[in-house]
């Protein structure tokens, strides 16, 4: 007989008082290897309006494709300085910004490689449970064979791939659309 799982509840409008002291908006501390990327964009609701003060958390492997977690049994190097956890707040215009590194490929189901990606969870007022999604990197040759992307209807895959911003090779834009036109793909597990 399993215990009943505790219900999710919204973070409400004041979550930043709790999250602000522990934000992690720049994971590229000294000693971390990998290609630096600046991921930014906006959180948008069903009216196409920006969602202010959403909280976004990200989880990723290091540049070698190793997670800083005891259940990652891969023989790949860990980097002490890299936890792999990002936490940022969108501002009042719905804009967020995360500086991190491009992770390496990680193992997927049945030994198939997963393309470099970040797992992303989103919290906001009006969301009774968080949304879970992923962001992938543009022009990565592994994307075509990624076992999770392959399960996403082709016409919606683009919502999971950040766009290169012409002005800066390290800059990537990725909007999170919670509802409506170009709605981001969200996952259940």
């Amino acid at each position: 007989m399993n215990e009943l799982t505790t219900a999710s509840q919204t973070v409400g409008p004041f979550v930043s008082i709790s999250f602000a002291p522990s934000l992690a908006g720049d994971l590229t501390v000294q000693g971390v290897s990998g290609k630096r990327v600046v991921l930014h964009g906006r959180v948008i609701d069903g009216d196409g309006a920006p969602v202010g003060h959403a909280a976004i958390e990200t989880w990723q492997a290091n540049a070698h494709g190793k997670y800083a977690h005891p259940e990652d049994f891969q023989e790949k190097p860990l980097e002490r300085e890299f936890r792999g956890f990002g936490r940022v707040m969108a501002d009042e215009r719905g804009a967020y910004r995360l500086v991190t590194i491009e992770p390496g490929c990680t193992p997927g189901p049945g030994g198939v490689l997963q393309a470099p990606h970040l797992v992303v969870v989103i919290f906001m007022r009006g969301l009774l449970k968080h949304l879970t999604t992923r962001v992938y990197f543009p022009d990565d040759t592994h994307n075509a064979e990624d076992p999770v992307l392959k399960l996403v209807p082709e016409e919606r895959r683009a919502t999971l791939i950040a766009r290169r911003v012409a002005t800066d090779a390290n800059e990537l834009e990725w909007n999170i659309v919670v509802q409506g036109k170009d709605e981001t793909v969200f996952f259940e597990y």
Partner: protein, 234 residues
């Protein structure tokens, strides 16, 4: 090659849907496209690990973070973080935030006409111990109005954020108090279909952990998704 040790789905009926029109903000924020069901991979069964060195000695005591004690009824809130198989979730980060005794948050956007308390920030964090136990000392939060519907009041509550062992166990919830007449009128509470799942969000008076001449205790256990049987190594 290891298979991932996957997580079970949350208990049926225990979780709210994204869309619950009585809570008005859900109408434009609930996805309309179906969620895409994908396999659990190493990316989701792992998650951030936090260390004891990241927690300051008074992070769990919201009554001792300023020069003087905050106003209000001091209370202890304690409990365990477990998975749905009853196993403790040890060394996991638990964060809380709440209003002060007058029902006001220390946040620039909170314009409820109630006093701020210079001695209360309303935030705490701690790690669970090896038995999954956590404990905070705080003051009882006040009810506060919100603009969802006519004469809408949030029942006194404490927001909880829990990480668990992997990102799939991530949970943000709210703890309520027993016997509160506001609960039945609160869309955040009524959005949960299952009556027993609603009850899970209500703390219980905890005489055993009440400290004489100091503070009443409330108990609030948090149950996260559990895991399937250990996979065989290939």
């Amino acid at each position: 090659m290891h298979d991932v040790h996957s997580y079970r789905k949350p208990s049926p009926g225990s979780q709210p849907d994204y869309l619950y029109p009585p809570y008005k903000s859900t109408v434009k924020r609930a996805p309309v496209q179906p969620l895409v069901l994908v396999p659990q991979t190493l990316s989701e069964i792992t998650g951030p690990v936090f260390g004891r060195n990241e927690i300051a000695p008074l992070d769990h005591d919201l009554t001792r973070q300023h020069q003087s004690a905050p106003l209000g009824e001091r209370m202890i809130v304690n409990g365990r973080v477990l998975d749905d198989g009853g196993c403790p979730v040890a060394n996991t980060l638990v964060e809380i935030w709440q209003s002060n005794a007058a029902g006001r948050y220390r946040h620039a956007d909170d314009n409820h006409d109630a006093p701020l308390d210079p001695n209360f920030t309303g935030c705490g964090r701690t790690l669970t111990d090896d038995a999954g136990r956590y404990r905070f000392v705080t003051i009882k939060p006040g009810a506060y109005p919100w603009r969802n519907h006519h004469n809408a009041w949030r029942p006194p509550h404490i927001h909880f954020s829990v990480f668990g062992c992997g990102f799939l166990q991530r949970l943000v919830t709210q703890m309520y108090f027993p016997g509160d007449p506001l609960l039945a009128l609160d869309p955040m509470y009524t959005c949960i279909a299952d009556e027993r799942a609603r009850q899970r969000l209500i703390s219980s008076f905890d005489w055993e952990n009440t400290v004489p001449e100091f503070a009443i205790a409330y108990r609030f256990d948090i149950v996260l998704r559990g895991r399937d049987a250990t996979p065989m190594e290939k």
